[in-house]
């Protein structure tokens, strides 16, 4: 089943008189349980495409479907509803809430979906274990290493058992061993839970983990089905 379907999508940014065509007509589809890399040089449109798939932004033209539902024309509030529970995000800069502990950061999406207290406790403990951070539960982000923070972010993205996890350069700010560990955890979770992962990267060491590679250049898909490893 298709989790993501993108139909002839364009995205134009206007800065005063200047128009920048970030995407010039992209079509693709991503099936359930895929582990897919979006690759391409800087400015090729990877991040823009991720944002459109993640309902963080709207296309200038074309359509985006998530789980068969057209999300390209939804208002802000409906897009927030779609993100919550359906899509998990992992960002390059870890993006944890600095004032909350690892446990509370993972719990945050569950609170937004209205999960019960017991359900939350069980889920957060399970996820802390899955990313191997059980003993760091009560640490704040500034007390965690970069690798640990990104693992908390992965656990948070998985918290609501979403259909899709989008990761934008998830290892860009990590050293090689930590980057590798993060990718291994993502791969394992993809295999164990079947959740679809789409991640943007231009790091060959990360690309090799992908089972499918979509290449973008100048806002267009140049290779829709390259192979990773």
């Amino acid at each position: 089943m298709e989790v993501v379907k993108v139909e002839n999508v364009t995205r134009v940014y206007r800065m005063g008189e200047v128009e920048t065509h970030a995407l010039r007509g992209v079509s693709l589809s991503i099936e359930n349980s895929e582990f897919t890399a979006l690759v391409g040089p800087s400015g090729s449109g990877k991040t823009t495409l991720l944002q459109l798939i993640g309902c963080l932004d709207q296309p200038s033209s074309g359509k985006v479907f998530i789980n068969g539902k057209d999300v390209s024309k939804l208002n802000r509030s409906r897009r927030a509803d779609t993100r919550r529970g359906t899509i998990g995000f992992i960002f390059q800069f870890f993006a944890l809430i600095p004032t909350l502990t690892a446990y509370e950061n993972i719990e945050m999406p569950l609170l937004l979906t209205g999960e019960s207290a017991n359900g939350r406790r069980e889920r957060v403990r399970h996820l802390l274990e899955a990313v191997d951070l059980k003993d760091r539960a009560n640490h704040r982000p500034d007390q965690l290493s970069g690798g640990e923070q990104q693992r908390v972010a992965i656990a948070r993205a998985l918290a609501t058992q979403p259909a899709l996890i989008l990761a934008d350069e998830p290892t860009a700010n990590l050293d090689t061993p930590n980057g590798k560990q993060v990718m291994e955890i993502m791969t394992r979770l993809n295999q164990e839970t079947g959740v679809t992962f789409v991640f943007a990267t231009h790091d060959p060491r990360v690309i090799q983990f992908a089972r499918r590679v979509i290449t973008l250049r100048d806002g267009l898909v140049t290779d829709n089905n390259g192979k990773g490893k």
């Binding site: 509030s77 927030a80 993100r83 800069f93 993006a95 945050m108 948070r156």
Partner: protein, 405 residues
């Protein structure tokens, strides 16, 4: 909601110093408002108390034809046999004391200097004149049969360099419309701590005042003090008579009431200025917080937090600041008010004509002022938090994630 509260609270903790100073700005604002309200209240109460005690009494009985502004001395405008009427009134239960007074205008002249004065002919033995007796600074109080003695106020004595035992020449208007002049000896110098009264009022024994003004066994008014001023209207109703006018203290002191009303509107403007400054500080703090947390807002939004939830997070933050600031402000404000209610606030010679204000103001805070100012400060802070909260809630997640650091 609990998590939103937690984030809001911890964010205040993240910038402890900034949060503290913002709350402090609110606290200072509120403390200042409480002090101003208490000061003004004390001032107005003291003006009213002083005026009642020194000038108007709770009630006065005059002839219906008496015109105060003219200080009339014509017999038909004066009360005949005032002692008898005063004794009758004093026999009423709610009445503490009733005493006849004769008013006249005159000029004190010493060497080359002269000053216009208001002459009070009083019964020196009456309890009604205790405030003057208590205020005696030097010399002796008058006696009923003194024919040559006067009491003058301290400001007048200082202005004309007069002391006890000195002689003054006093010219007085008389009942027949002439002016009589006589030399008097200063028996004593008094102060009621009320410049506006003390600088223009001199006292003569009633009998001597009647003699020099040719008012002969007449008085301008019967000055009445009650045991409880709440009985004013009841007693006034019981005393109505055809030829007499019974005047109550609110009626006689309309000017004070008007001044109070006018001052109230000025003070309200002052409140708005103080609260406006406070609100600006709070808005500034919260806007800084919004900009610092741009990326965090983007992340929360990406997680599916709705605009109104983000807005409530910032509103909670301003409420927390408001609660902290208001509590601090109440503590500061009450400490200040308590201090000045005991030690007073020396303002010097601030009296205006017709408005007697003591030289020292003792703050008096009413519960109503305390509650309304606290609630007002709280509401203003919440309103101040509205703009930054809306700003945060309208932030596009993509932009927040891209621009945030």
């Amino acid at each position: 909601m609990k998590q939103i509260l937690k984030i809001a609270f911890r964010d205040l903790g993240r910038n402890r110093r900034r949060s503290f100073f913002s709350a402090l700005a609110l606290a200072m604002g509120l403390a200042l408002l409480l002090l101003v309200a208490a000061f003004f209240n004390g001032e107005m109460n003291s003006a009213m108390d002083a005026t009642i005690l020194l000038q108007s009494g709770h009630l006065q009985v005059r002839m219906a034809s008496y015109e105060e502004s003219k200080t009339s001395l014509k017999w038909e405008n004066l009360i005949a046999d005032p002692e008898q009427l005063a004794a009758q009134i004093e026999s009423l239960d709610p009445v503490k004391t009733a005493s006849p007074r004769l008013f006249a205008s005159g000029i004190v002249a010493v060497r080359d200097e002269s000053a216009g004065v208001r002459i009070y002919g009083i019964d020196p033995s009456s309890e009604a004149n205790d405030p003057y007796r208590i205020g005696l600074l030097e010399g002796e109080f008058l006696t009923p049969d003194d024919r040559e003695g006067v009491l003058i106020g301290q400001p007048l004595a200082e202005k004309m360099s007069l002391g006890v035992g000195d002689s003054i020449s006093l010219s007085v208007n008389t009942s027949s419309g002439d002016v009589d002049e006589q030399v008097f000896t200063i028996r004593g110098i008094y102060s009621t701590q009320t410049y506006g009264f003390d600088s223009v009022t001199i006292f003569l024994p009633l009998a001597k005042a009647q003699a020099i003004t040719q008012a002969e066994r007449h008085a301008s008014t019967i000055f009445i003090l009650l045991n409880d001023k709440a009985d004013t209207e009841t007693v006034a109703a019981a005393m109505q008579g055809a030829d007499f006018a019974v005047l109550t203290w609110p009626k006689m002191n309309e000017m004070i009431m008007q001044v109070e009303e006018m001052a109230n509107s000025y003070i309200f403007i002052l409140y708005l200025i103080v609260l406006g400054i406070t609100a600006t500080v709070i808005i500034n703090t919260l806007i800084m917080s919004v900009f610092e947390r741009t990326r965090e807002i983007g992340v929360l939004s990406a997680l599916g937090m709705k605009g109104r939830q983000i807005m409530s997070m910032f509103l909670i933050q301003s409420s927390l600041l408001a609660v902290g600031g208001v509590i601090m402000g109440l503590i500061f404000g009450l400490l200040l008010v308590t201090y000045f209610s005991k030690n007073g606030f020396y303002i010097g010679n601030m009296g205006m004509t017709g408005l007697l204000i003591g030289n020292t103001i003792y703050t008096e805070l009413t519960l109503r002022d305390a509650i309304s100012l606290t609630v007002l400060s709280f509401i203003v802070t919440l309103l101040a938090g509205l703009y930054p909260a809306v700003l945060a809630s309208r932030m596009e997640p993509v932009r927040a994630l891209r621009d945030g650091k």
